[in-house]
């Protein structure tokens, strides 16, 4: 649709279990991120070449992008060593990201990504 120079993908991103406090206290965000990550991480063999170099946008890139563009404070409570802080569970379209390749999952337009911490009250 938006065909020319900088292809982008649109995602629904949700935060829960207190993580929303770091993101303007909003649980639900719709974000548009570049379809390709600027700096390639691992394999450079492009599956989808348009838009220049880099690797297709994956969850690792989304985490970096959220940290740089959406996070309001206390980055260390969200990101650690290029991934989420241990204790944050990531869900891809209602599936545990571990079943989907974790940070290497390649994002598709319309994907819904949820970041949650455990709740503890009772």
């Amino acid at each position: 649709m938006s065909a020319t120079s900088s292809p982008a993908i649109s995602l629904k991103v949700e935060f829960g279990g207190g993580l929303e406090l770091l993101f303007s206290n909003e649980r639900s965000h719709t974000v548009t991120i570049p379809a390709r990550a600027p700096s390639p991480a691992g394999a450079d063999t492009d599956v989808h070449p348009p838009g220049g170099g880099g690797r297709p946008a994956d969850i690792a890139f989304l985490i970096a992008w959220l940290r740089a563009n959406l996070l309001q404070e206390r980055a260390e409570l969200f990101e650690e060593n290029g991934t989420v802080r241990p204790g944050i569970l990531v869900l891809v379209n209602d599936t545990d990201w571990e079943l989907e390749g974790e940070g290497e999952y390649v994002l598709k337009d319309g994907d819904e990504i949820v970041f949650i911490s455990t709740l503890h009250g009772g």
Partner: protein, 278 residues
């Protein structure tokens, strides 16, 4: 007693026979089952209520707190007249009034790393109805050691989570597999600070009883899932498909692949130093 199914003729009898058979054998299994409920607060009260109503034969209740007036806004087994009584004794009294045939085993000690295995070894299923993270990690480790499913509920403000950890010995993840580290104390807040809407604990606690009943009667499909509840969301319930256990998990991992140890863990220190007010 859990399900009433009487003979009758005005419907398609042959079609509901499956449900009937399931129900009848289910009642026997429930009578023979034992469940330990850790925490007789917001989650424990509705869970206990529906386990007792379903006719679970033996129910252990572990909690060292006493009933306070402020508990009554969500801890529905306790009464104004029982303020000051141990919660487990108040709950035992309520259960006895509902179903006097249940064998209730109240324990007024706090659950600790040194007594957890002893207190829980004698039950088929463990329910985590606690309100703090150190006990949640302790319960998960204990359930792994004892090879028991842990039906875990949690609630904060308008949100709840429900998960069976250590489901189907060695298959589903434990609490540590999913959440290897507790959330930062700055974000966790306390129940007192954040408030919990009573009906949220009601929904999650009742669903914990339901999951226990499904496990006991063989109606659970064995797939590990996490149910997320958000009372104010346009999509209030989400059902998440979970990973299998993590071979490197220090608690439930495969013996020679485990990374890290938890044997000597001080659960409170692990969850942020000084015991916080949750």
């Amino acid at each position: 007693m859990a399900l009433v199914c009487q003979a009758s003729t005005n419907c398609m009898r042959n079609k509901i026979s499956w449900a009937e058979v399931t129900i009848k054998t289910g009642q026997l299994k429930l009578q023979q089952a034992s469940v330990a409920v850790v925490g007789a607060g917001g989650l424990g009260c509705p869970a206990l209520q529906y386990l007792a109503a379903a006719g679970v034969g033996r129910i252990g209740i572990i909690d060292h707190d006493v009933v306070e007036i402020s508990n009554l806004q969500r801890q529905v087994l306790h009464t104004e007249a029982r303020v000051g009584m141990h919660k487990v004794l108040s709950a035992a009294k309520a259960i006895e009034q509902i179903n006097s045939r249940i064998r209730v085993e109240p324990v007024t000690s706090a659950l600790t790393a040194s007594n957890a295995q002893t207190l829980l070894a004698d039950y088929d299923i463990i329910l985590d109805c606690t309100d703090n993270l150190p006990t949640r990690y302790l319960l998960s480790d204990t359930a792994v050691q004892l090879n028991r499913p842990l039906v875990s509920g949690a609630a904060q403000q308008f949100d709840g989570q429900l998960c069976i950890y250590n489901l189907g010995p060695g298959q589903g993840p434990c609490f540590r597999c999913l959440f290897p580290k507790p959330p930062a104390p700055e974000m966790a807040g306390s129940c007192e600070e954040l408030g919990i809407l009573g009906a949220v604990t009601g929904v999650i606690g009742t669903l914990q009883a339901m999951e226990a009943i499904k496990l006991i009667t063989g109606l659970h499909d064995g797939r590990p899932t996490l149910l997320m509840y958000s009372a104010l969301s346009a999509l209030p319930f989400r059902n998440i498909k979970l990973r299998a256990r993590r071979p490197t998990c220090p608690s439930c991992g495969t013996e020679d692949e485990k990374v890290g140890k938890i044997g000597e863990t001080d659960y409170v220190a692990f969850c942020g130093g000084q015991r916080p007010d949750w």
